[in-house]
């Protein structure tokens, strides 16, 4: 099967996908209620889209294609309302966060759809351990070469997105010490990592052709890269973020990525280099492990600073682009995260206060669903 042609899309348009956890209101463990929730949600007209995911204790909400942060956050809020209402109706709590703190992977049930059963067969326990919850952000690109350019330039800032969204310190009942333990699960997949350093779409098609010829992959879906092109949408998709604890943070991170993309396309205009990737896995690990406190090494200047400092610096550089995109509020929220900490710090603080991961999960769900 050959690669789909790259559908052009409106540049810098933005779309968000959030994978959400479904919880029992009795013990706040994951509950296999996705079919019930989807049936209920489908009864009412709603913006965007709500879809099943790999296991029956998760669902995914997708926004439609948006141009601005304001409309994006509105759509996410209305999606949240739809999902929360269904949750109240069915006694199911819904929460953000990249991992469930104490679920056991062997108790997860695979959603009844051919693709999920195929993946479950192929990856075995990895598929169930993949009960992790991420945020994907799509950024529209005018053409395929622009998409590859943007993808490689954004790769440098992957640690920003990881540290800002990180909200998965707890796995299987323990604090892993990681800011985003979720990504460790992603890295165990054979086709995770980064896209090959190819800057032209014909080159990328050639690479894809060779990969399909080996029989290792069938479609773009089989690559679990941190950022990957999505030709049928005409976008690149940033996939490293944990699902944040609120939709507002999710929208802010999308706004941040959008403003940064505009900065890269309009102002920066330097070409990506293969050597940019020398520090890639180091920087990514630092952000995963230590979040905003992680060390960030600039691939070109070799200067060392914290991820927090690099984000603060980036915020001043993209300020004009953010106001051009009317995303000032998003930048304000990013600044708040830099000051007050990411989801992982909220979770650790809450656990220190409550001493009980079930309570943490309950408060996490109340935070996501909003007070109603």
């Amino acid at each position: 099967m050959s690669l789909m042609p790259f559908a052009p899309s409106r540049p810098l348009s933005v779309g968000v996908e959030l994978e959400l956890q479904l919880l029992s209101c009795n013990d706040y463990n994951l509950v296999s209620s996705a079919p019930d929730m989807l049936r209920r949600i489908a009864k009412f007209p709603h913006a965007g889209d709500v879809k099943p995911e790999m296991t029956r204790s998760m669902i995914e909400i997708n926004t439609s294609v948006q141009q601005e942060y304001g409309a994006l956050v509105d759509e996410l809020r209305s999606l949240r309302k739809g999902v929360s209402d269904a949750g109240h109706f069915l006694n199911v709590a819904v929460a953000g966060g990249g991992t469930h703190p104490f679920q056991h992977w062997s108790e997860q049930k695979i959603f009844d759809a051919p693709r999920f059963h195929y993946l479950s067969e192929l990856y075995g326990y990895l598929a169930k351990q993949f009960t992790i919850f991420g945020q994907h952000v799509h950024i529209g690109c005018t053409g395929p070469d622009e998409a590859l350019h943007l993808m490689h330039m954004l790769s440098r800032y992957i640690p920003h997105f990881i540290a800002l969204s990180a909200s998965s310190p707890f796995v299987q009942g323990h604090d892993t010490g990681f800011s985003s333990a979720r990504l460790n699960s992603v890295f165990s997949f054979p086709l995770s990592g980064r896209a090959p350093f190819v800057l032209r779409w014909d080159g990328f098609e050639k690479f894809f052709g060779k990969m399909t010829a080996t029989g290792v992959v069938e479609s773009m879906k089989d690559f679990y890269w941190d950022i990957r092109p999505k030709p049928e949408f005409g976008t690149i998709e940033v996939r490293v973020c944990d699902t944040p604890l609120t939709v507002e943070i999710a929208a802010a991170i999308a706004g941040y990525i959008q403003a940064m993309a505009r900065y890269i396309m309009v102002e920066q205009r330097t070409a990506p280099e293969e050597d940019d990737y020398l520090v890639y896995t180091f920087n990514r690990f630092q952000a995963c492990r230590f979040g905003l406190e992680g060390v960030f090494i600039d691939p070109r200047t070799h200067e060392q600073r914290s991820v927090r400092e690099d984000i603060a610096d980036m915020l001043t550089r993209i300020a004009d682009h953010a106001s051009e995109l009317r995303a000032e509020e998003a930048m304000e929220r990013i600044r708040e995260i830099l000051a007050a900490g990411n989801g992982t710090s909220w979770l650790r603080q809450t656990y220190a206060r409550e001493h009980n991961l079930g309570d943490v999960m309950q408060l996490q769900a109340e935070l996501w669903m909003g007070s109603n």
């Binding site: 029992s24 013990d27 019930d36 109240h88 006694n91 079930g358």
Partner: protein, 402 residues
Amino acid sequence: MTWSTYLPLWPLSVSPALWLALTLVVGVLVGEALMRYLRLPRIVSYIVIGLLLGPGGMALIPQFPATEWRLVVDLALGILLFELGNKVNLRWLKANPWIAGTSLLEATATFFVVYGLLLWFDIAGITAAVVAAIAMATSPAIVVRTVTESRAQGQVTDRLMLMTALNCIYAVIFHKLSVAFMHGETGTSFIHTVLPPLYLIGGSAALAWLFGITFERIHHHLGQHEETFSFVLLGMIAFATIMASTLKLSPVLVLLAAGLITRYRRQRSRTFPPHFGSAGAVLVVLMFIANGLAADLSGLWHSSLLVLLLIIARALAKLLSVLILAHYSGIGLRQAVALGVALVPMSSVALLLTLDTSAVFPAFGSGPGLVLMSCIVILELAGPILVQAALRAAGETPETKI
């Protein structure tokens, strides 16, 4: 010195307690075998062993209504009821009124179907009402035990527990009401037919509320020490049960309401070990054996048709009520059928209500009471299997293979 001074006399004269001990061992072992080889719930074997060794079978164990037995049953049932109440989220009824509607419809339909059937069999109206009230209740013991054992979770499980808690409350209250009318019929004044149910509800609620507050206090201080806490809790449940009987309140209502109130008032979710620890779990096993011992199938030979019709009519009333409102309440057809089937079991609560009525009205015990007893035995044996099959069919039990 003769042989007989230090060797036991033959044949051995064995205390019934020995058989009881043996029953526990055999019951639990058979239960394990049922679970492993036939994938049947363990409690079926506890009841069967009790039934086989008790007065209804080989008569190795003495008659049931001994007060010691009653205490075991009351305590274990108290644990299960409090546990059930704790797992039920009453706020859900506000968010999804259709579930409240389903519960009311299901209970009302059961009452009138059973009532009508008994009238048709020429049973006096007031007696029929007592039986119909008892028939409303789904067995909380079987539901809680089977849900715990199968580790089920999901819409059907949650609704089953909620609707069981509710229909037990209806059953106790309407039972008290109709018994009060029975008294009225035998010639006491109007005031004494009206006050008893009011006293029952008010008194039980007050006691339950006190229990709930004490529970939260103690849990606040002792909650971290799970074992110590479970001992205190067992003591509290025993106290509340005996206090309720002393005050002529309903232990069933008190413990169930206590669980519901504790859960309702609580800010955070809490999980407890099954039956609040192993001591509770032993009591629960003993209770099912005791239920087997108390089994009385003599009514079956006299009025097998009535027993059969009663079981079918009651099951249909529950199943159809759930089916009618399933769509509105947000579950699919398969789940609705599972829920309807899972509501069928009868056990301890119905048994205690029947025994209590028979104690006051011996005529009831030798007539409709026997019919009820037969229904209870059958639905107690079939109940756990039905609930387990229903939860499995609804896809709410963990998958066995990875």
